[in-house]
Symmetry: C2
Subunit: 442 residues, 2 copies
């Protein structure tokens, strides 16, 4: 079972095979070499934000906690690994007993991050930490990409309603995680019932063209919908002629009509025309919902249009051009043994190109000016300077294998709004630019 962020508990399968094969073979080789239990520190971080983006958004942390709890090798899985000769007998024995028993610290969900930010820090034996690499990265890379797009869209929407409706554009479970990430990034509702079920995200629905086409006339369709769902429903008005549809809609539902949805055409122009028509018909409270390949730029371009809510699909669930983050999970320090007294030594790859990384177990803090506006992401491996002690970003998530930091999803959402508000104003620009905070290593 997973926590579902304190929503409904959902039976989930073990996450242990969401793992690249090399993690298991590395464990095998390390077990044989006697190095598998060396005390190790892994960190998840990104070397760069997607091009032009000003900040990243941490999302997926709650799902990572579920994944770590559910990471255990069931008999059938062990049988598969045996049958396929993936690993040897001693390794199968190790895996059969596997439960993560280490510590995890990380940026709390909804927090913003920058290049180098140690978004997650995993400590334990080499073997127990390395096995979690793929599933941790899958979750953080996916969910953070969606949350980052959602955050830009919610900044562009400036308080108007945002409906996540991208389920049909991505893998069915990726869709559920996307709803969750979008909610953290500032969306209000989702059309995805599984996201409502699993995470208590408010669900909403309108109507599809198929419903109009099923009936002998648009009038029949509207009447059927209003009869069953009430006057507060949202009628889709662009199956045939919008002006006629709006007239029919108000005729049937009266001025109490909840909303109309426009899904095609020049949304700016049509929204103005429809608003004027609705007002003339006395339906001054009827809301206008627009959908149709919206992204943050389209949302921003509709700022002056009489739109009450945006429904966003494709561009949200594909991260608005950036469907994944480039977070990596690297060994940054390790001891020569399992002995807690044995010193942790920083390690880092030193090879060609831009793939180098900084060794050492890191802390991170956000330095702020007198007004409380963030100035820099400060990252270090030594002692934390006194003036930054109160601004530290990592929080304890797992202690000795036990999850210690469950929270309702709304807390992550509120945290994100606050974190974004604490950034310099230029964070909200949609145009391409550098990360809005510099990363300083001390």
């Amino acid at each position: 079972m997973n926590s579902a962020d304190l929503g409904r508990r959902v039976g989930v399968p073990s996450t242990a095979l969401f793992t690249d094969q090399y993690e298991l073979t590395m464990v095998q080789a390390a077990l044989k070499a006697g190095t598998a239990d060396r005390r190790s520190v892994f960190e998840a971080f990104t070397r760069r934000l997607p091009e032009g983006r000003r900040y990243g958004v941490v999302a997926g942390t709650g799902r990572v906690l579920d994944a770590v709890e559910n990471f255990h090798f069931e008999d059938e899985m062990l049988g598969f690994l045996r049958d396929q000769d993936v690993v040897d007998g001693p390794t199968l024995d190790y895996l059969a007993d596997y439960r993560f028993s280490g510590d995890i610290w990380g940026y709390p969900e909804g927090e913003v991050y920058f290049p180098g930010s140690p978004v997650l820090r995993v400590e334990g034996s080499f073997a127990e930490c390395v096995l979690l690499e793929t599933v941790i990265l899958s979750i953080l890379n996916h969910d953070s990409a969606i949350a980052a797009a959602a955050s830009r869209m919610s900044a562009a929407a400036g308080g108007r309603g945002l409906i996540e409706m991208g389920a049909r554009r991505t893998h069915e479970l990726s869709a559920v995680a996307s709803s969750r990430a979008a909610y953290i990034g500032g969306f209000d509702t989702t059309s995805d019932l599984a996201a409502g079920f699993r995470y208590n995200i408010p669900t909403v629905g309108t109507s599809a063209h198929a419903f109009t086409l099923l009936h002998d006339s648009e009038r029949d369709a509207f009447r059927a919908q209003v009869d069953s769902l009430g006057r507060g429903t949202t009628l889709l008005v662009d199956t045939y002629d919008v002006t006629e549809a709006v007239r029919t809609a108000v005729e049937i539902a009266g001025p109490e009509l909840g909303a109309v949805r426009i899904d095609s055409g020049d949304l700016l122009l049509v929204a103005h025309r429809v608003r004027q028509q609705l007002d003339e018909l006395g339906a001054t409270e009827t809301r206008i919902v627009v959908t149709s390949d919206l992204d943050e730029y389209a949302i921003a371009s509709l700022a002056a249009a009489p739109v009450d809510a945006y429904g966003v699909g494709t561009q949200l669930v594909t991260g608005s051009g950036q469907p994944t983050c480039s977070m990596v999970y690297k060994l940054v320090a390790r001891a020569a043994s399992a002995d807690p007294a044995d010193e942790l030594r920083p390690v880092a790859k030193k090879s060609m190109g831009s793939k180098s990384s900084k060794g050492g177990r890191k802390w991170a803090a956000r330095r702020r000016d007198e007004e409380g506006v963030a100035e820099a992401e400060v990252i270090g491996t030594g002692p934390v300077p006194d003036e930054l002690a109160g601004q530290q970003l990592l929080v304890e998530l797992v202690k000795g294998g036990e999850v210690v930091a469950r929270e309702p999803l709304d807390e992550a959402r509120e945290r994100h709004i606050a974190a974004r508000a604490g950034l310099p104003m230029s964070a909200m620009q949609l145009s391409r630019g550098e990360p809005v905070l510099p990363t300083e290593y001390v």
Copy 2:
């Protein structure tokens, strides 16, 4: 349970909530209006290929069949829908009994498609068909996007090995579906153990930088790996200095060393240097595997390099710039009742912009020239011309609610290779262009 394409059977949860709320509210309104049982035909198709792409690849069909079989509302789900007032009592009763009882025809998995191709045709009552919209589109849009990218990469690789290793860059279950789609598109193996478990796709693994950094020297790391995994293993040689690493690798494993992996730097240059060094050391059979943000263009640019296999991650699982297809699921025909004798009438949206679609229940065939090379995708709603009767593309997948077209995944993979080979040569060009076949409506 799902079929797992005749691989291991995997317990999967019901797919019934992978559904947009409006599908349920439309069912409610149609039930009340007495139109829910009108005989209906829905089709999944795309109005356009991603910009510049020459062909699409159908993938996900096997998963769609699983999803349809597993689409049933469990008590807990019905309780959720009741608690949240999503639908009324009669609708809950309808959903409680829901099992798809209609027919599904479609392009077989691995087949190529073009704008307008009726990739899937779903027939039954309005209510039973409309409920499947979201989950069908989620699967087809995701899986076909990945398969299309995989197909371009496999064309570029020209017979060299292709390893799918993108799990860490996408949602953990999207990753499993991506491995499956990549295999259909021409990939040979995957690093994702869940994909091996679920779909019998051959799994492989190399080693990570963390393994080298865990040990006191690269030499210790290589020795540990070879001791445990044998000389046939793949050693990662770019943690420190490549030349030194290759020397150490052959010293430890001997010329029987299976492969070396290069994950950074100028792959073209480094591969040449490493090949020369390996040959000089007598390791003429040792293979070179390259990884590091490869896409179809990078693969093509390495055609002249002494590379034996490509490991592809990010760009594969994100569809190489096109992470989703734009397939839609539209009501194209319906009768005025449930009576099979009642005539099916074509229906279509007629609104603004490019979102119009063609009404009518469709067949599709691929016209070929005397050499058997495809010339056109022919789509019609009337009788099939005699000369095209043998070239029809849709096959029966579900009959009266029963899945009738299970097949092993290898069949879809072989079908794709054959289908692609039957296209005009220009299909294999990586450069942007028009769809390689015109769509003709007759």
